[in-house]
Structures are given as structure tokens and as C-alpha cells.
């Protein structure tokens, strides 16, 4: 039995094909203007028996492909707890939202919190800041790691932080110190929301932003517990949602 799990997000559509519970293939595409069309490409490969969708576009998928759906919360919890048995909590920072999930003994969701009202601290936020600093995302992360100094960034709203960053650049502040400050403020804010839901380690850090080495390092520094990142093992952090969805699509044994 082959299960196709789709994570239809605002920035990307991720696909994972499972065979006997193991990943046999995976793919990532840009959501573009029409995430359903991006998803359709994967569906039309036709090499699956069961299709299941998660993510922001899951309801569109249900309409287009008549498939089952699960929320990102359940999908991430399932994916993370299979990748890292014993994980106690999950942090997912995606393109436009942040989720924090606590897990029970069997990987069941016990609590969750979502920041989904604004882009503060998400992948989108980092993209906007990188542009304001004239860096690529990779450069900005590298600069943040290498920086010898930091500057405090007070705004978390994407719009205000962008003008704050521009102001700092104009005042002659070093771009790498600003990059460092930006990453630090996101990490602090994220860890405080982890504490709010009572998340303890081992924490699985997943989602697109978990590919950013500066964020990983700072979350490790701020979080009082083990931080596990999927990309550092074998599975790409970005496909944890699609993987988890596919696991939820497996027939219950």
C-alpha cells in the first residue's frame, strides 16, 4: 500500500510517498498562486493508493481530490514522533505561521498553540528582513552566526521590524549585528511560547525555518532541553508535515 501525504502550505507544497510505512520518495514545489495546481502535479503521478492532505490548503485538496485531511498539528505531531521516538514536543516554524505542540507518551497531541494571525517570526518575516538587509536567507543566517555583536530589535511586526531594520542600516549599524539581533528576538519569542504551553525536551524543531542554522543554534541556546532537527538526521525538516500526514493515512492496525 502506497500512501501519498501532501502538506499544502502558503509557501510550498510538500509531498511524501510512503510504502510499508517507509519514505520511498519525496518532493517539494512552490505553492505559487495556485497551491492546488501544484499539488495536482503530485497527485497525477498516480502512484499512490491512499491520498491524505494537511496544511493550510487541505480543504481545497479535499474538494479537488476527495481525500481525507488532517490538521498540521496532528500531522506534525505524528511525523515528529515517528522520526524521533520519545520526543516530548514539537516546534514548527513555517512560511507564515508558528506552531508549538506538546506530545503525550504515545505521540498524541496534549496541547498546542498557533501563532497564525501575523507573520511575526516566521519564514516570511525572515525573507522580508533579509531583503531589507540586502542578504539572501542563507547569507543572513551565516552573518548572524558569525556576528561578534548583536543589536536589540524591538518590533516583531513584520512591517515595523522592516522599518526598524532599515533605520538601523541607515544609522550605520552593522548588517551582521542586525541579522544576529533579528534571529535572537525570534528565538526568544519562540521559546517563550514554548514555555507557555509547558513544552519540555526533547523538542523536535521542524518546518522550513528549521533549515536555518542560526535559528537552530539560537533555539538550542534558549531552550532548556534537547533540540532535535530532522534535517540533521535523514529526513528533511520541511517534509515532516507531509510525512506525518502520510502516517495518518495509513490504515489503523
Amino acid at each position: 500500500m502506497r500512501v501519498l501525504g501532501l502538506d499544502i502550505g502558503s509557501r510550498s507544497v510538500d509531498a511524501v510517498w510512503l510504502e510499508e510505512g517507509r519514505i520511498v520518495d519525496s518532493a517539494v514545489a512552490d505553492s505559487g498562486f495556485d497551491p492546488a495546481a501544484a499539488a495536482r502535479v503530485f497527485v497525477e503521478r498516480g502512484n499512490h493508493d491512499v491520498l491524505i492532505a494537511t496544511g493550510y490548503g487541505r480543504h481545497t485538496a479535499r474538494e479537488s481530490f476527495a481525500c481525507d485531511v488532517v490538521t498540521e498539528i496532528k500531522a506534525y505531531a505524528a511525523g515528529a514522533s515517528v522520526l524521533f521516538p520519545g520526543a516530548a514536543s514539537v516546534l514548527d516554524i513555517g512560511g507564515q505561521d508558528t506552531k508549538v505542540i506538546t506530545l503525550g507518551a504515545t505521540g498524541k497531541v496534549t496541547d498546542f498553540e498557533m501563532n497564525d494571525k501575523c507573520a511575526a517570526g516566521t519564514g516570511k518575516f525572515l525573507e522580508v528582513m533579509a531583503r531589507a538587509l540586502g542578504f539572501t536567507l542563507e547569507e543572513m543566517a551565516a552573518e548572524a552566526i558569525a556576528a561578534s555583536r548583536t543589536v536589540a530589535i524591538t518590533s516583531m511586526c513584520t512591517v515595523f521590524a522592516e522599518s526598524e531594520v532599515t533605520g538601523l542600516v541607515h544609522r550605520g549599524e552593522s548588517r551582521s549585528a542586525i541579522a544576529r539581533g533579528l534571529h535572537e528576538s525570534i528565538a526568544k519569542r519562540t521559546v517563550s511560547s514554548l514555555k507557555r504551553v509547558g513544552a519540555v525536551g526533547p523538542l523536535v524543531f521542524a518546518g522550513g525555518v528549521a533549515k536555518n542554522p542560526a535559528m537552530v543554534a539560537l533555539i538550542r541556546r534558549e531552550f532548556p532541553g534537547d533540540v532535535l532537527v530532522p534535517g540533521e538526521s535523514e529526513t528533511d525538516s520541511q517534509i515532516v508535515g507531509a510525512f506525518g500526514a502520510a502516517l495518518c493515512g495509513l490504515p489503523v492496525k
Partner: protein, 428 residues
């Protein structure tokens, strides 16, 4: 109400009331659309809901006409916003009572010129309805009764008082014997105010009759509520919420009769094991700020996500109908004591302390076999938002899953709320 009246054109009546006709037409068509989408798409609804469908289709029509005709013969209408303003007293003095709480985002730009933006949606909504001249119930009210519950409402009544005939009842904030005595004295003043309005005296006889009448309305709602403990639930949460919302402005005896008929049907459904949702649907109890017409947002999200709402611990729910006024009083004095005791037994977050509400929520979650509780608070409602933390604690101690939601009437956050609600339903 007869069905053929649906074709009547009410525009002349609305015009006479000073309603802004084009804006009002737009509002009615928006509400009609919301209603169709939220209610008429449901499957397997109880037949008794057709009465409420009809009432809603005539929400600014036939019912307003009844108020209009009543006033034409010298009758008086009293508009209220809060449970602590007893309908029994209004009716015993010969007037009719209508609830004026509003549940739609309307006229906010006008409101924000005279009130802070960070005012709760409920207040903004009724002020918006007033400022844009779209609410026939406000227009038909000869007296509007406010109460000193939360700070936002207190200040809103000052502004409303510049435009309408407003009387404000003072409410205590605690429930000690001296507070109950204080409220009891306020009831005397309120009685005098209504008697002055109608020119009729409240007597032991009229009060006894009105206590019985309003209790009967509550009893019908209690019967409906009781059937919701069954699995599968015989009525959707949305339909049950609508029934309570309509209780605040419909004709009392007719409404009671129709709700008893609905309850008969629901009891039969329960006996037959028939339901509106699969027995496996996750059962949710809602607690929090009142949901005034036409606010069906959270129920709609939950039920469209596959859950079922089995109870509302709110003023448009159990706080309204769970307790009755003792009917054994003979003198006006005895009955006023009974009214004071009953009303001061409502557990609103404007009071401190409010442990009774925590106990009610835990008890109801168990009685209605809820799998989880959603605490619903309007943004900027300090009392309920703060109390949500105590609610969370009480439920955690009882081992009942709880999720807190802060929202308003806008459609903006429906996508995000749906994800949170779905994840909560998966979790419980």
C-alpha cells in the same frame, strides 16, 4: 405568525421607524445569506426548527410589526442587554421586553468616532446598529435599560443615552447579603420606572403570572437542553443556540409553545436513538461571552469541522434558563425577594469572586458528556478574558480538555480558527 405573511413589504413600516432603508436592506440580505449558509445547509434537522427558520426570515418583519401594533394600542416596549434586568417585572407592569444585544459587525467606522477601537464587539455592534439606524428593535423600544456590569457597557450607555431613552440599573459586583439587598432595592426602582412608563401598576397577580410565564419559557429551554446530553445529539448546537437567541425577543407564550413542541420532537429522537451528527462526533461545551443574534461563528466552525456543540454555558445558554424563579411567593414583596435571589444567582464574570461559574462549567461538561470545552471570549472583554484562565485551571484539574479562543464578529480569522478547532477536535 402565518406563513403567507412572508410576502408583505415592510419598507413603509421601517421608513416610519426612521430606518436607513438601503443600509438596512444590505444588512438583511447579508444576514439572510449567513443564515442560509449556516443553518439551511444542515442535514437531518428537527422539523420543529421550521418555526425558528420562519422567525428568522421575519426577523425585522413580522415580529417588529407585532411590536409596532402593540405600541399603536398604547403598549410599551423595553429593550434590554443583560440577564440581570428581569423580564418578569417588565411584563408584570404591562410592557414587553426585547433583547437588544447585537452580534454582527456593522457601522464600526461610525462607532470608532465616538468610542475606542478596543471595545468589545458586542458593544460596538449595538452602538453601530444605533448609529447607522438599522435596528428596528431599538427604534421600537420606548425605554432602553442598561446596567452597570462591565466598564465598556457603562460608558456605552452614556453615549446611547444621548440618542435614546436610557435607564441604567446599578448592579453590585459581589454576592454578599448586602449586595443582594442592594440589588433587591434596585428592582424596586426599576419597577417604579416601568410602571411610570406604562402607566400600569404591577400587582401580585400580574407578577405571579409573569413569573410563571417566563419560567415556562425557561422550562421549555431546559427540556431542549436536556436532550443534548444524549449521544447522538438530537439537535445541532447551532440550532439550539438559535432557539436561545430567539427567546430574547419572541412573543413569550407562542415561543414557549413552539419550543415545547420542539422539545417533544427531540425527546422522541433521543428515544429512537436518532441524531443530527454521528455518535462518534466530538462533543463540545462552549463557555464564555454571550452570542447575540446573528453571531453563529464559533458553532458554525465547530460543526463544519465535524464536531457537535452540546451546551452553552453563557447568557445565550444555560445562564439564561438553568434556574427558575420560585413560584410560591404570594405577595409582591415575597416575589421580589425571590427574583433578587434568582438573578443574583447568575454567574457572570463581571462579579467577584465567581467560583460558581467554574463549578457550573465542570458540572455541565460532565452532564452533557462533553469531550472538551472551548472558552469563547470576545476580544477586549476584560472580565471574560481574564476569567478564561480560571476556567482553564478548573477544567485541567477536572481532567477535561479545554481550548481558549479570543475572537470577534469578523470573518477574518475563520480560517485560523478552523485549524485550531479541527486540531482540538483531533486531540480530544
Amino acid at each position: 405568525m402565518s406563513e403567507d405573511s412572508a410576502v408583505v413589504d415592510y419598507h413603509p413600516m421601517w421608513e416610519e421607524l426612521g430606518i436607513d432603508l438601503p443600509t438596512h436592506d444590505a444588512l438583511l440580505s447579508a444576514v439572510g445569506q449567513m443564515y442560509g449558509d449556516a443553518f439551511l445547509t444542515q442535514e437531518n434537522r428537527p422539523a420543529g426548527m421550521s418555526y425558528l427558520d420562519f422567525v428568522m426570515s421575519e426577523v425585522h418583519g413580522l415580529r417588529v410589526k407585532e411590536l409596532h401594533d402593540f405600541r399603536a394600542t398604547g403598549g410599551k416596549i423595553v429593550g434590554t442587554f443583560c440577564l440581570y434586568v428581569p423580564e418578569e417585572i417588565v411584563r408584570a407592569a404591562g410592557a414587553w421586553c426585547v433583547g437588544l444585544c447585537a452580534g454582527a459587525e456593522f457601522g464600526y467606522d461610525e462607532v470608532e468616532r465616538i468610542m475606542p477601537r478596543n471595545t468589545c464587539a458586542l458593544i460596538k455592534s449595538f452602538m453601530g446598529f444605533e448609529l447607522t439606524n438599522v435596528c428596528p428593535y431599538i427604534k421600537e423600544s420606548d425605554l432602553i435599560v442598561g446596567e452597570t456590569t462591565c466598564d465598556g457597557k457603562k460608558k456605552a450607555y452614556e453615549l446611547l443615552g444621548e440618542m435614546q431613552n436610557v435607564y441604567v440599573m446599578e448592579l453590585p459586583q459581589m454576592k454578599r447579603p448586602q449586595d443582594i439587598a442592594f440589588y433587591r432595592a434596585e428592582l424596586d426602582d426599576f419597577r417604579a420606572k416601568v410602571e411610570e412608563l406604562t402607566g400600569k401598576a404591577l400587582t401580585a397577580e400580574t407578577l405571579k403570572a409573569s413569573i410563571k410565564e417566563v419560567n415556562d419559557k425557561r422550562r421549555a429551554l431546559q427540556r431542549i437542553a436536556a436532550t443534548r446530553a444524549a449521544s447522538p445529539a438530537p439537535i445541532s448546537g447551532k440550532d439550539a443556540l438559535l432557539a436561545t437567541q430567539v427567546a430574547f425577543y419572541d412573543d413569550v407564550p407562542r415561543y414557549t409553545q413552539m419550543m415545547n413542541a420542539l422539545a417533544d420532537e427531540l425527546e422522541e429522537r433521543v428515544a429512537d436513538g436518532a441524531g443530527v451528527a454521528p455518535a462518534a462526533a466530538k462533543r463540545v461545551l462552549i463557555t464564555g461571552t454571550p452570542m447575540a443574534l446573528p453571531n453563529w461563528k464559533l458553532h458554525d466552525i465547530i460543526e463544519k469541522s465535524g464536531g457537535i456543540v452540546v451546551g452553552e454555558e453563557m447568557c445565550t445558554g444555560s445562564r439564561y434558563y438553568d434556574t427558575l424563579v420560585p413560584e410560591d411567593g404570594e405577595t409582591v414583596e415575597e416575589m421580589f425577594d425571590a427574583l433578587a435571589a434568582k438573578y443574583m444567582d447568575i454567574n457572570c464574570a463581571c462579579f467577584t469572586p465567581n467560583q460558581g461559574r467554574m463549578d457550573d462549567i465542570v458540572r455541565m461538561a460532565r452532564e452533557y458528556n462533553a469531550d472538551g470545552v472551548i472558552d469563547y471570549a470576545l476580544n477586549f472583554c476584560a472580565t471574560y478574558q481574564a476569567e478564561a484562565f480560571s476556567v482553564e485551571k478548573a477544567l485541567q484539574q477536572a481532567g477535561i480538555p479545554i481550548m481558549k479562543i479570543d475572537t470577534d464578529y469578523s470573518a477574518e480569522d475563520i480560517g485560523q480558527l478552523s485549524t485550531r478547532v479541527e486540531a482540538f477536535l483531533e486531540m480530544i
